[in-house]
């Protein structure tokens, strides 16, 4: 039996001293995949859809109805971000299926994604309610709650990023344990249910959760 090693993403090479890890190259792979997919389904768009155009329109209308449900009809301008966010996280999560390390099993990726959400939350909060109402929100319900509200705001990116990272990292640790404990001749078929649960099911659920929480946060920021 070999050694079981649980560690971070390997550093593949360096550009001007900056380490380029597996996470970054796998993200490039996901980006190329999504761009190629988007390019492929949007060739020869026609008034009456046929073939691959159905897939594109189904995806866009699904996300639009999701945004409408979660954020209300007046916040439909937010749909394009979700349309792009869900494929990125989902394809990142299921990259474990082909034996690559999922980019979302790296805290840097998930923290960047959740910082996007948090910055948008504060930006739209100020933009739609004004700076006075935004600052007054920290004194809600009364002034003594200021420290608690600040801690609450700071814990938002932490819980958002660690939810995605913890699930994906935990999944990849359990998958490597499964491969480690099985004898070589069983490594072909036995891990399939584990892959279905940890990569496809858990990855899909976590993608949905991240997108839903982003939508709920932004809807809260915009307010009524």
């Amino acid at each position: 039996m070999g050694n079981l090693e649980i560690n971070g993403p390997r550093i593949l090479f360096r550009v001007f001293g900056y380490p380029i890890t597996e996470t970054i190259t796998n993200q490039w792979l996901v980006m190329v995949l999504i761009i190629a997919l988007a390019y492929w389904v949007t060739r020869n768009l026609q008034k009456t859809p046929k073939g691959k155009q159905h897939i594109a329109e189904l995806w866009v209308s699904t996300v639009q109805s999701l945004v409408q449900q979660a954020m209300g009809a007046k916040n439909m301008w937010f749909a394009p971000y979700i349309v792009a966010l869900i494929p990125f996280i989902f394809f990142s999560n299921v990259l474990g299926l082909v034996g690559l390390r999922p980019p979302t099993a790296d805290l840097n990726t998930t923290l960047a994604l959740s910082m996007l959400t948090v910055f948008m939350f504060h930006y739209y909060s100020i933009k739609f309610n004004g700076i006075v109402a935004y600052l007054k929100g920290y004194l809600d319900p009364f002034a003594l709650f200021l420290p608690i509200n600040i801690i609450g705001e700071l814990s938002r990116p932490v819980s958002l990023s660690f939810r995605l990272f913890g699930n994906l990292f935990g999944g990849s640790v359990i998958m490597s344990l499964v491969y480690f404990l099985l004898p070589v001749f069983l490594r072909v078929a036995v891990p399939i249910p584990f892959h279905i649960y940890f990569d496809i099911f858990s990855g899909g659920i976590q993608t949905f959760i991240f997108a839903m929480l982003t939508m709920v946060f932004i809807a809260n920021a915009v307010g009524d």
Binding site: R163, G166, F169, I205, F208, M212
Partner: protein
């Protein structure tokens, strides 16, 4: 490095590993909460099968928020095991 220092380091490492295990017992809470939410969700679908999509969505969102404490315990356990912040105290 003298023997006392090595002994101290091993004790701290062992205690960190134990602490990580103990931290993960916080998983009890989210597990019970998520199971409760799933049970209530099933009841709700049984009563109102036509509202299935809405109920599932709300249930998943609530479960994700309930999971936060479990994620924090995972964070503590990962820091204890991978970063070993307490070893520095021995010198």
């Amino acid at each position: 490095m003298n023997e006392t220092l090595i002994l101290g380091r091993s004790i701290v490492l062992a205690a960190s590993a134990l602490g990580a295990g103990i931290a993960l017992t916080a998983g009890f809470g989210p597990a019970i909460g998520q199971g409760y939410a799933a049970g209530k969700g099933t009841e709700a679908v049984g009563r109102q099968p036509e509202a299935r999509a809405d109920i599932t969505q709300t249930m998943l969102l609530g479960q994700a928020v309930a999971e936060t404490t479990g994620i924090y315990s995972l964070l503590v356990a990962l820091i204890l095991v991978l970063l070993n912040p307490l070893v520095g105290l021995v010198g």
